[in-house]
């Protein structure tokens, strides 16, 4: 897996026209677990990567499609539930399919769910989409909590784990980190690739002016539904990693808190570029793990809520936006030059 991650990075990098500093980041990510403790590898590293992938699916929809969907964690949770329902879990309630059938089935069902959400929400735009996707997310949460036939109600499922393959237990810190890294890298590359494809360009044009694109003969709704589907694949992948690490899935996995957290992560990082969600996830996970030193651990939500508020209020483009601003400021030769430019 190490070899695959490192050998696929340069070729993709070349095709996508990336600069040397990107390779440095990639190399650092690959050697990171060799330097870090298992806690830092999994609870921090892998956690950042798969939360980043789920947030990336939101970034793709919001950044390129102008669709702010709050149901991405719901899609991820649906795929996670399917791992338990179709595969095996410790309550012996699963269908018991082998891993090679369970994983694709979970991704397909997660994606179908995302497409259905797309079909429902596509008829509305802007803030209506937020309201409808939030309503869908919360409704799904209540549904899983009430339903015992499929979702085992309140307690959900436990005993979920990745298969033991090629003699490697993928739950162990090192393999799990590299698995997460590979999926994160692939998702990141896929989003960059799709954003530069014909489909991605038309999607961005639709975001900027749906009416004009409609008049030009583009099927606006179909583009949006397909975007939901693509984001659904990413969210499903992230969701499967999520339940594998936690070993369990329950209504709490897709409660309003986690649903909003994905939005917080994506917005904290910035919705302009696919790297944003990973930066946001890094800040989020680090805050969650180390806020204990600063404040009462019970009050983490106040801290993250205030951080989110501050970022939204001072920089609508998140940390990426702050970075861009700082860079522009340095390039223009500091405050004086910036001020003169504004005056000019």
């Amino acid at each position: 897996m190490t070899a695959l991650a490192s050998s696929s990075a340069p070729s993709l990098a070349l095709r996508l026209g990336l600069k040397p500093r990107h390779l440095v980041v990639a190399a650092l990510l690959v050697i990171y677990p060799l330097l870090a403790s298992p806690f830092w590898t999994v609870q921090i590293g892998a956690q950042i990567l798969f939360l980043g992938v789920i947030a990336l699916s939101l970034m793709f929809l919001a950044g390129y499609g102008g669709i702010v969907s709050l149901s991405q964690m719901t899609v991820a949770g649906c795929a996670g539930y399917m791992i338990a329902v179709i595969g095996t879990n410790s309550y012996n309630l699963g269908l018991g399919w082998p891993w090679w059938a369970t994983i694709p089935a979970a991704i397909v069902i997660g994606t179908i769910f995302a497409v259905l959400i797309g079909i429902i929400s596509v008829r509305t735009g802007g803030i209506y989409t937020i309201m409808i996707t939030l309503a869908i997310g919360v409704a799904f949460f209540y549904f899983t909590r009430q339903n015992y036939a499929i979702f085992n109600g309140h307690s959900g499922f436990a005993g979920l784990q990745p298969p033991v393959l090629f003699g490697v237990s993928w739950r162990d810190p090192l393999p799990f980190y590299y698995l997460s890294l590979a999926i994160a890298a692939l998702s990141y590359a896929a989003v960059l690739y799709v954003s530069r494809s014909t489909f991605g360009i038309s999607l961005q044009a639709i975001r900027d002016n749906a009416r004009r694109m409609n008049a030009l003969g583009f099927n606006v709704n179909l583009h949006r539904v397909v975007a939901h589907g693509f984001a659904g694949i990413l969210a499903s992948l992230g969701g499967i990693l999520y339940v594998w690490l936690n070993g369990r899935v329950s209504p709490g996995t897709i409660d309003i808190g986690p649903v909003i957290n994905i939005l917080v992560i994506a917005v904290l990082g910035g919705l302009r570029h696919p790297i944003g969600p990973f930066i946001g996830a890094a800040l989020f996970v680090l805050l969650r793990n180390f806020a204990i030193d600063l404040i009462d651990p019970e009050r983490f939500n106040t801290l993250i809520g205030l951080t989110f508020l501050i970022i939204v209020l001072i920089s609508p483009d998140g940390l990426l936006g702050l970075w861009e601003k700082a860079r522009g400021w340095v390039r223009s030769g500091g405050a004086a030059a910036g001020w003169r430019q504004k005056q000019g």
């Binding site: 937020i130 917080v264 106040t302 809520g305 989110f308 508020l309």
Partner: protein
Amino acid sequence: MRLFLLTIMNGLTLAALYFLVASGFTLVFGLMRNVNLAHGSLYLLGAYIGYDTADATGSWFLGVAAGFLSMSVVGLLLQIGVFRHMVGQELRQTLVTIGISIVLADLMLAIWGGKTYQFDPPDWLYGAIRLPLVRAYPIYRLALLGASIVIGIALWLFLNRTRIGMMIRAGVDDRAMLSASGVNTQRIFAITFALGAGLAGFAGVVGGTALSIAPGEDVRYLLASLVVVIVGGMGSVTGAAIGALLIGLAEQLGLAYSPTYGVVYTFLIMVAVLAIRPQGILGRPA
């Protein structure tokens, strides 16, 4: 038959509660295009403050008044402190209200803890009344139903028969034109926001008495408000009443006859409305 009638009665009283919460939500949205996702938090905060007031003074009615007034003030502060500075930036307003609701939910948990609180309504509202067919039914729930009908009519009269109501309706149709006609739109916005938030706080106390108040209720009523206004049509108070009726009845019927699929009915209603009339039953195309 008795179960059916009882379910209908429960559905109606639940609808009354949903209407109280959602009418404030839809009023604020209709006028200011602001999705206040902290609306559920206002419901719960109003309930807690009402509970503390009722507990301290021993008067349930003072608790109701405190719930309404405190949330009116909070709404006013939100409008003046936050929303006035980001007019027209819908996404930003939405994100800010999400941030506020995260912080509020956590602070409420810090202050009032995870306990479930129960109000003591006045004696004459307590107990059951004998009704034909359903036999006994709690008086309080009937009073809740009556109160929300009265409030619904008052709201309708306020919007359709008073000068301020006229201005609010004009603002819903065309904010720029209303402002150009010399009306201080910021004041109208502030009044509407205070009224909408106050209704959420009022519903918090009144609804908390019928059921109970506990952490998580904010999300429940936010969801109810969202679904009710999506179904009824954004910005329409009458639409909120129709939406609340549909959702309240669907939820109780679902609960009575197929408990594990209750939420699905609510959800199906929403999907059906979106498929046929994306703007909601009484909404106007955006």
